[in-house]
């Protein structure tokens, strides 16, 4: 096992040398900790690497260059909405007034942030057609959890605790069934209809006195708007159940469809998708939740309140006894919410409508460019993303979607989401977003068309891609069979020298 190749880096632990670093913090007196009981103290200091700052900087700059990112190239990762992250928003979140504010500072000290949060709640309520919004959930999945807990509280308050089932379509995000389980519900999976939409009759058959909620992603994870949504929502409510909307794809329908107006009872927003807060290599996000009339009493605490004199305050603990309680510490991922607020302000009503229009136009254009080369299982206009399939290509050449995805890396593109949703054979979910130019869309389509031709000509070359990435395909089986999850500093042993 060698550490070679363009930018591959030794670990911090291999780079460190005893005696390097320092110059950051003044040394306290030697007896600084003498007042602590000996048995409370650490016997052996943690074996953290000792490094000088130039080495640390070089390490992280070189490592960063091993990443594909929105700032380096096209990232058509379906369902993830990898759009441009405005730089103004990074600046704003770092303003000392926002960044240095302590989360337990009294309300009188926090008026700027509280006003921002209150205005953001109002904007999200307007965008979603919901009555009220809580900004507390830290991510979309926690927003789902919040929503499902409110639904549980609603049924319990009505004496309907026997409602223990949550219905989800088979095309849903994995977080939906995982959330239902975490909240103590049983998940019932409903197959999709042939046109990719919800099968209303299958839902009808599963709906009953045990149904607590139905979780729907609209547009769906296939990028399709649920045309039968009105019918479905009617039947859900007739059955005494509530309707949860997974707002992961809200970026496709801004100004066109307000879930609350249409009859959804609760939804979450992925601000790192629709409102462009950076994905950060996996997080942070924020997952605000909007509710209609039925769930209003159960919103998590604390809410942001506006007083008659125009000032703002956080709700006090136990001020609203119907609340499902607290989902996390403090008010929320406020630094993320500052960015979302700036994004909504910069766009305004007109700009947000245009976001969805351009995202949908780009997806349809890109889809049209792939017709004839890849299978397009759903022959109708998509929203912000679409599923293509390499099933025919695989039948002819043995080249799978995974291979096509890996070969895209050699063309300088991040692969799309592959093998999701699970219901499409050899599927790839492609989401171009509204911030990519026609030139980029064309170049990506050209690359996919060329890769399909390569698969016919030289399938082995495609199957062994990528050829230009810092590493080849990885041995994932060994990683899982013999997990090595933590570097063990080799005390006394010679470490491989990086340079």
């Amino acid at each position: 096992m060698s550490v070679t190749g363009e930018k591959l880096q030794p670990t911090l632990f291999e780079r460190g040398r005893p005696g390097r670093g320092g110059g950051k913090i003044p040394h306290p007196p030697k007896d600084a900790l003498d007042r602590l009981p000996a048995d409370a103290r650490r016997e052996t200091p943690p074996a953290l690497p000792e490094m000088n700052e130039p080495d640390v900087v070089r390490h992280y700059v070189n490592l960063s260059q091993l990443n594909h990112a929105v700032d380096t190239g096209f990232y058509p990762l379906g369902s993830c909405t990898m759009k441009f992250n405005p730089k103004l928003n990074e600046w704003a979140a770092r303003l000392p007034g926002f960044a240095e504010l302590h989360p337990m500072a009294p309300d009188e000290v926090a008026q700027g942030t509280l006003q921002l949060l209150w205005e953001l709640e109002a904007a999200l309520a307007e965008i979603s057609g919901m009555r009220a919004v809580s900004l507390q959930p830290a991510a979309g999945a926690q927003g789902e959890f919040t929503g499902i807990l409110m639904i549980r509280a609603y049924h319990q308050a009505r004496g309907e605790s026997e409602r223990t089932e949550v219905l989800v379509p088979d095309s849903s995000h994995g977080t939906n069934p995982a959330t239902a389980s975490m909240a103590g519900f049983t998940t019932i999976t409903i197959p999709s209809a042939d046109d990719g939409g919800v099968d209303v009759d299958a839902f009808e058959a599963a709906l009953g006195p045990r149904t607590a909620a139905v979780m729907i992603t609209n547009p769906s994870t296939l990028g399709l708007f649920e045309r039968r949504i009105g019918d479905l929502l009617g039947r859900v409510h007739e059955a005494g159940a509530l309707a949860y909307m997974d707002g992961a794809n809200l970026n496709a329908i801004l100004g066109r469809f307000k879930p609350g107006q249409a009859g959804f009872d609760v939804m979450h927003f992925n601000v790192h998708k629709t409102f462009s807060t950076p994905h950060g290599g996996g997080g942070p996000g924020a997952g605000p939740v909007g509710v209609g009339e039925r769930l209003l009493p159960y919103l998590p605490t604390p809410r942001v309140l506006r007083l008659d004199d125009g000032t703002f305050r956080l709700e006090r603990p136990d001020e609203r006894t119907t609340s499902i309680g607290r989902l996390r510490s403090f008010a929320g991922n406020t630094g993320v919410l500052v960015r979302a607020y700036a994004y909504i302000r910069a766009h305004g009503a007109a700009g947000l409508c245009e976001v969805s229009e351009d995202a949908v136009l780009a997806a349809n254009y890109l889809k049209s460019r792939l017709a004839g080369t890849f299978d397009l299982p759903y022959d109708r206009p998509c929203k912000h993303e679409f599923v293509a399939s390499a099933a025919s290509l695989k039948a002819r050449t043995g080249v799978r979607t995974l291979d096509v995805a890996k070969r895209l890396i050699d063309y300088g593109f991040h692969p799309p989401t592959i093998y999701f949703p699970l219901i499409v054979d050899e599927g790839m979910l492609i989401e171009p977003t509204e911030t990519e130019s026609v030139e980029t869309l064309d170049a990506f389509a050209d690359a996919l068309v060329e890769i399909a031709a390569e698969a016919e000509r030289d399938p082995d070359m495609v199957k062994t891609a990528p050829h230009t990435a810092p590493v080849k395909r990885l041995d994932e089986a060994t990683a899982a069979r013999q997990p090595n999850l933590r570097w063990r500093p080799m005390a006394g042993a010679e470490m491989p020298c990086p340079d």
Binding site: L8, T11, L12, G22, I25, P26, P28, A32, L36, P37, R42, P45, L48, L63, N67, A69, V70, D71, G97, F98, L101, P103, M104, P106, V109, G112, L116, G129, A141, R152, G174, P177, A178, S181, T187, F257, S276, P278, G280, G281, G282, P284, R326, F330, G332, V336, A349, A350, L352, C353, E357, R369, K406, T435, V438, V471, E476, T478, A479, N484
Partner: protein
């Protein structure tokens, strides 16, 4: 649209290729009766005006106060290298490293994070991050239930109240959560009541899955962690230690006293307070619990050429693979904050981290001594690291009047723990390496004046007292 690339000609070209007249045609599948009413939002705001608006809003927060507020979130000096590296687009505009060939940077950084935090907590497995300390603790509680197939968890009242409230929310599906009281008086006041814990663990008809205790606890006190671990294990339960990572440079780590799980808030490792997040939920466990730990894990492996490489692994615990059987629903985590913590630790180093922890302890001791000199006494007698509670008459009023004088006098404990009469007059005060001796002198002088109506005698404050008394904006 401010960030879009499309000219009218581009849009026209795409529409023509699709054989469409208008983009509206692409939304024709939204039923007419369900179409949205017009968005009632302000018009687009150019960046110039928006930046002024944001600066103005930020300016209405009072971050000029000299702060002694901790309560789970601590101000520390962060080397500028941390944020400068974090601002590289290759880090913050990437997503979850699903495609390892073009994500080795993020993957290696997560592996290094797991390793660095593994050193701090002295445990085998560290998840790639959770939302914050409270949710990491809640996930730890659920882990203990899964691993032991029991459904009752005990949490010390010395654990942060927000964490206890979050636990209650997460366990509401029928799991039992009982609070272990704190000792009310005497030398051990404010720490976990070991006799009560023993009694609760002895209720054999209600077997306990896990016991959760914090060190330092919410009141800043050091807890008898080895003894709690011993009692917990004797009852067949798992021990969850809630820890503060900077303190682990000098305090015994969870691995050393046999904790099965460590959870905590990673914010002190180079992350700004920013009114609640994004922070960093630390969650670590022993090897025995590796298949119960929720969240992403990155492991070391090789590529087909035998080159060392990193990859997400043991994915069968996760929601996108296992759906309703997953260990948790977590998907998006706090990866960028884990990166911040790693860069902070790498830059400041093991000696720097010890200096941070020890300097905070020194300043806190100075603060305690100076307050004692003016008659402001601690609520609890036990040892503390860098945070402690004091008793003042009418804490809420004193706190407000000190804000007028430019000081944030910690936390009014009655607001955070309204049910605990022993804390009714309490203020929780913290010091870190950012607390200067001058801050302490001026704060104590202002406290004295607020309490007595006159400046202190014998406390060296010089002009500082008057300056502090008159100044709303005491600058640092």
């Amino acid at each position: 649209m401010p960030y879009g690339p499309h000219t009218p000609a581009d849009r026209e070209r795409m529409l023509t290729a699709l054989g469409l007249e208008s983009v509206d045609d692409l939304f024709a599948d939204i039923p007419a009766d369900l179409r949205a009413t017009a968005l009632d939002l302000p018009p687009p705001e150019p960046e110039l005006e928006l930046s002024a608006r944001l600066r103005d809003m930020a300016g209405r927060n009072r971050t000029d106060l000299v702060s002694f507020l901790g309560a789970g979130v601590y101000r520390h000096w962060t080397p500028p290298a941390v944020d400068q590296l974090l601002l590289r687009g290759e880090w913050y505009t990437a997503y979850t490293p699903y495609q390892p060939e073009v994500s080795q940077g993020t993957l290696q950084s997560i592996y290094e994070y797991e390793s660095l935090v593994g050193e701090l907590v002295d445990m085998d497995v560290v998840s790639a991050s959770h939302y914050d300390g409270a949710t990491a603790t809640a996930e730890a509680a659920l882990m203990t239930c899964r691993a032991t197939r029991r459904d009752r968890v005990l949490v010390s009242r010395g654990v942060h109240p927000h964490y206890r409230q979050t636990l209650r929310t997460y366990m509401g599906r029928g799991l039992e959560l009982d609070e272990i009281p704190l000792v009310a008086e005497g030398d051990a006041a404010g720490t976990i009541d070991l006799a009560a814990l023993e009694r609760m663990l002895a209720e054999t008809d209600r077997p306990v899955a896990g016991v959760i205790a914090a060190n330092p606890d919410f009141l800043g006190l050091l807890e008898p962690m080895p003894r709690i671990a011993e009692l917990t294990h004797a009852a067949g339960a798992l021990f969850v230690a809630v820890v503060e990572p900077v303190s682990l440079a000098v305090l015994a780590p969870p691995g050393s006293y046999g904790a099965d799980i460590a959870a905590g808030e990673g914010q002190p490792l180079g992350i700004a307070p920013q009114y609640g997040g994004p922070y960093l939920g630390i969650l670590a466990s022993t090897d025995a619990l590796v298949r119960q730990i929720p969240g992403r894990l990155v492991g070391l492996t090789t590529d087909l050429d035998g080159k060392r490489a990193f990859v997400m692994t043991l994915r069968a615990r996760e929601q996108d693979i296992r759906r309703d059987k997953a260990a948790s629903n977590i998907c998006t985590n706090q990866a960028l904050l884990a990166l911040a913590a790693s860069i902070y630790l790498a830059t400041i180093g093991p000696h720097g981290l010890r200096d941070v922890a020890a300097t905070g302890a020194v300043r806190a001791a100075e603060l305690e001594g100076a307050l004692a000199d003016i008659g402001v006494e601690r609520v609890h007698p036990g040892p503390f690291l860098n945070e402690f509670a004091v008793r003042v008459p009418d804490a809420r009023t004193i706190h407000r009047r000190l804000i007028e004088r430019g000081f944030l006098a910690g936390l009014v404990l009655a607001d955070a723990e309204p049910d605990d009469p022993t804390l009714a007059d309490g203020l929780l005060l913290a010091a870190t390496e950012l607390t200067t001796p001058g801050d302490i002198a001026r704060f104590v002088a202002a406290m004295h004046e607020v309490l007595s109506g006159r400046p202190p005698v014998g406390v060296e404050t010089g002009a500082g007292a008057e300056e502090a008394a008159g100044a709303v904006g005491v600058s640092r």
